[in-house]
Symmetry: C2
Subunit: 368 residues, 2 copies
């Protein structure tokens, strides 16, 4: 029997938890000290449905760090090597955030609400503490806090149809990594074209938890003929899509360049960024290891609950950190960090899985 | 069926996880993004055993923030309103840590290893990010990092006997909230008399995860006639003992005074402390609500997974955040935060539990 999750106030519920329970959630993880569903029917059944219909995801665990005030833009630029000087209201940008050594602290989406107001929609680390302490140490004129905002995602090939029925036809014209303020039941919501799948869709930033259940219910009644279901980020699909998971595929030990995120490091222009000097050095020398996608031979591998060592004939050359059997590609798909000498597309390596050593092939691109 | 916990690299394993699995763990929570066992046989069976024998607990999730360097003492004092100017090497002190408004960020034990070297043994928040960013903002000469240190607790009435068999008779003379460096297998470990139960015992700060399994195995073979078992912090016993849980009974919204921790706030002398000015104000005015213990009428209440509203005849006066049926006291024991007008010992109130409203009586002291 796999261990159950003991739920307490500390593993926070979301505005959607009662609906998620009623929809028959069967697995959870804890993400930003909050409940994040991982499985409803089965990971494979959820995967097929995500690729063919439309799902509503409780991703309230993507907590927001709100930064507002005269020095908000300056503080947000200190957090990331991505140059935000041209960022416009209405944009939401993927922004790797680093410490003073260039180590990844989080890989959030930053939403620009006003010239002096931002939401940082975080991955799994208490970035709030980092941002607050920098603001105090540098005596900046900003407010930094966690607002009552809970993202709800609509993902899948029918996402546009569902969003249009609830938020109006304007939803269809939202561009990738842009948002519009669209009304539901008389209240405007930030609706962004983004999300943690390759199937397309939206993330709705639900301000004020009391709107959570009415919005959830409206999506399900509007989408009954679209076969809308409760879903969640799907392990198989996100590996096929090469979507990295902070804490799984990368940690504070890794630079953005190691994570394949060098294109987001405008370190010459992003002059306020903490860690800029360290990243200038990294950019000049290039990373010594980098994220790669590995196709692992044989039948379905067991769950990857700790890094699996990857070897070449010369010895260890990296690790696999996420892996799953892909029904669509008929192979095990995986994400790992591979040393420079072995990271070329097509290199054959061996992965030490709990089911024994397995052959594997390096890919530069993911499957989707 | 209660949802299972989906385990990945992100919900980190500990050096003891394989042993914990082999011992038959049946429930987990995630604490500091790491696995923390919550149940082995059953919460009640674990409770009776904890009170009568001795248990070994994997509390590696109490991660350490190491602070070292010329300004280490200065930085650690910035984190807490407790006056650390007299703290000696060999002491480990309970140190509430607060933000600039006096809100609780964590309630760790701080261990003084050398004049310029500390471990902060944290509750459930990424205090590392707070401490690192303060050090950067104030340009302090310190190193701040998470070392490879995993606490293992020995708790229960036979803890002294077990510790003495593995670490020698010197273990018996360790005073409360002090530590000694004692050898196991040729390696010295920090062994402190502390732990998250009222049954007495030790926390061993296991440096270098490779020592984890040999130490675990030595404790189990030395203690077989003491009925040693794998255990974990026990919900019933910790509520009986009035031990607060950060994230459950208190959050960033609460001051130390609200948490009943005013005695640790030496705000007049702890002059480096961030949040000191706010806490001087709080100390002068007194808190408006405070932690109390409530005896809840009737049979066993369901698990407390979100705050339960507490009412007097005049309306809402607070909330209960931890609750369990106590076999030894024959009542429901609980911890909550109660407004000033209703917090006097003996006040009768009503608690909105998921099993319906229940009468309750306020206690100033816990049961153990």
């Amino acid at each position: 029997m796999p261990p159950v999750l003991s739920i307490s106030r500390r593993t926070r519920r979301t505005p959607f938890t009662d609906r998620v329970s009623a929809a028959g959630v069967s697995g959870y993880t804890v993400y930003n000290r909050m409940l994040l569903p991982t499985v409803f029917r089965s990971v494979v059944e959820d995967y097929r449905h995500l690729k063919s219909a439309v799902q509503v995801w409780d991703v309230a665990c993507e907590r927001q760090v709100e930064v507002r005030g005269p020095q908000a833009a300056e503080l947000v630029q200190m957090l990331t090597p991505r140059d935000l000087s041209g960022m416009q209201i209405g944009q939401c940008l993927y922004t790797p955030m680093v410490d003073e050594t260039g180590g990844m602290l989080n890989d959030p989406v930053t939403v620009k609400l006003e010239e002096d107001r931002y939401w940082i929609s975080i991955a799994d680390s208490d970035l709030l503490l980092w941002v607050k302490a920098l603001a105090i140490g540098y005596r900046m004129t900003v407010d930094v806090f966690e607002p009552d905002v809970s993202p709800l995602a609509i993902q899948g090939p029918r996402a546009d149809d569902l969003a249009a029925r609830v938020f109006g036809e304007a939803a269809r014209s939202i561009r990738f990594f842009r948002y519009k303020r669209l009304e539901f039941d008389g209240t405007p919501f930030v609706v962004a074209r983004s999300g943690y799948s390759k199937q397309g869709g939206f993330e709705i930033y639900v301000e004020d938890g009391r709107h959570g259940e009415p919005l959830w219910d409206a999506l399900f009644s509007a989408g009954s003929d679209l076969d809308v279901r409760a879903g969640c980020p799907n392990l198989i699909e996100r590996i096929e899509g090469g979507m990295l998971s902070y804490g799984n595929d990368m940690t504070q030990a890794n630079t953005p360049h190691e994570c394949g995120l060098g294109r987001f490091c405008d370190t010459r222009s992003a002059i306020g960024c903490v860690g800029r000097d360290a990243l200038l050095r990294v950019a000049a020398e290039g990373p010594l290891r980098q994220i790669r996608h590995l196709e692992i031979d044989g039948d379905a591998v067991p769950p990857c609950t700790e890094p699996w060592v990857v070897r070449s004939e010369e010895g260890p050359v990296g690790q696999v950190t996420s892996a799953a059997w892909s029904p669509d590609f008929g192979t095990n798909v995986s994400i790992g960090m591979i040393d420079r000498e072995a990271w070329v597309e097509g290199t054959r390596l061996e992965v030490a899985t709990p089911a024994g050593p397995r052959g594997a092939v390096v890919r530069e691109k993911p499957w989707l």
